[in-house]
Symmetry: C2
Subunit: 160 residues, 2 copies
């Protein structure tokens, strides 16, 4: 079973905020010996609780206009082909740099997150590159006006 104590959680929280903190800075903040912090981080990494270390891109590289899409795929005559359609479309979408996230949902549905610099470019991208995909029946667009939580996913997902 997964056992994390308060110290593990405190370390994870600090590293989530700033993964560049040194062992000695964490040790000072949490008032624990450096050797303890070092050992705990090593364990958290070995146990795969810390998956990896990464950077979040700042405002400048983030697409300014983003939208969630719900896509519905045509029901094929031969029902077994539905999975192939879904596979083809999600694969196609995943290759496009404006597509930040794409996932298969239930039945004939796909969820995607798309972004671009301006509203016009984003709309054009959806018209030209998404709505034209064969076997796609419907594209519902939900533009993001403001994030209340988790908005940093854009800086996390943005391409370079």
């Amino acid at each position: 079973m997964l056992q994390l104590d308060d110290l593990d959680r405190a370390i994870l929280k600090l590293l989530k905020e700033d993964a560049r903190l040194t062992i000695s800075e964490i040790s000072e903040k949490l008032n624990k010996p450096e050797s303890t912090i070092h050992f705990r981080i090593k364990k958290l990494q070995e146990r795969g609780i810390i998956g990896r270390y990464t950077i979040i891109l700042g405002e400048t590289l983030r697409p300014k206009h983003i939208a969630f899409l719900i896509l519905r795929v045509e029901k094929p005559v031969i029902e077994d082909f539905l999975e192939r359609y879904l596979e083809y479309i999600t694969k196609t979408l995943a290759m496009l740099p404006n597509v930040l996230m794409v996932a298969k949902s239930e039945e004939d549905k796909i969820i995607a997150l798309v972004g671009d610099e301006t509203q016009e470019k984003l709309e054009k991208f959806i018209e030209d590159n998404i709505k034209t995909i064969p076997t796609l029946k419907e594209v519902l667009v939900f533009p993001v006006r403001t994030f209340k939580k988790g908005g940093e996913i854009i800086g996390f997902l943005a391409g370079i």
Copy 2:
């Protein structure tokens, strides 16, 4: 204007994959002097192109079952109240640990990403904690079956 050259982009790509890479490791991988790498990273940070450094949680701490929700808010009798309803609901949702992301979309719509350990728990959470929010008219649930791109947002957004 934003000016990034190939070296900047190469550095950013390496740091995205592993933000623990040392200057000397990056220098070796890109076959450039350490002083250059050091200067470039400093500049990328100062310019806010690197927003911050963080960790992605591994499988063990990620919710196993997740879903995107499209919520629709009741149209209030006094139209000006719509924004208040939206503000109230997104704020309420943002406080719930099972809500990983929440954003206001256009008009009366809200987008959310929710997760839990099991399908049953997730459904119960949606029934008990979301569908019961006053002024909420409709909740559409799009469970994620498989991610094709950007699935790491779960390890990025998961709470500790």
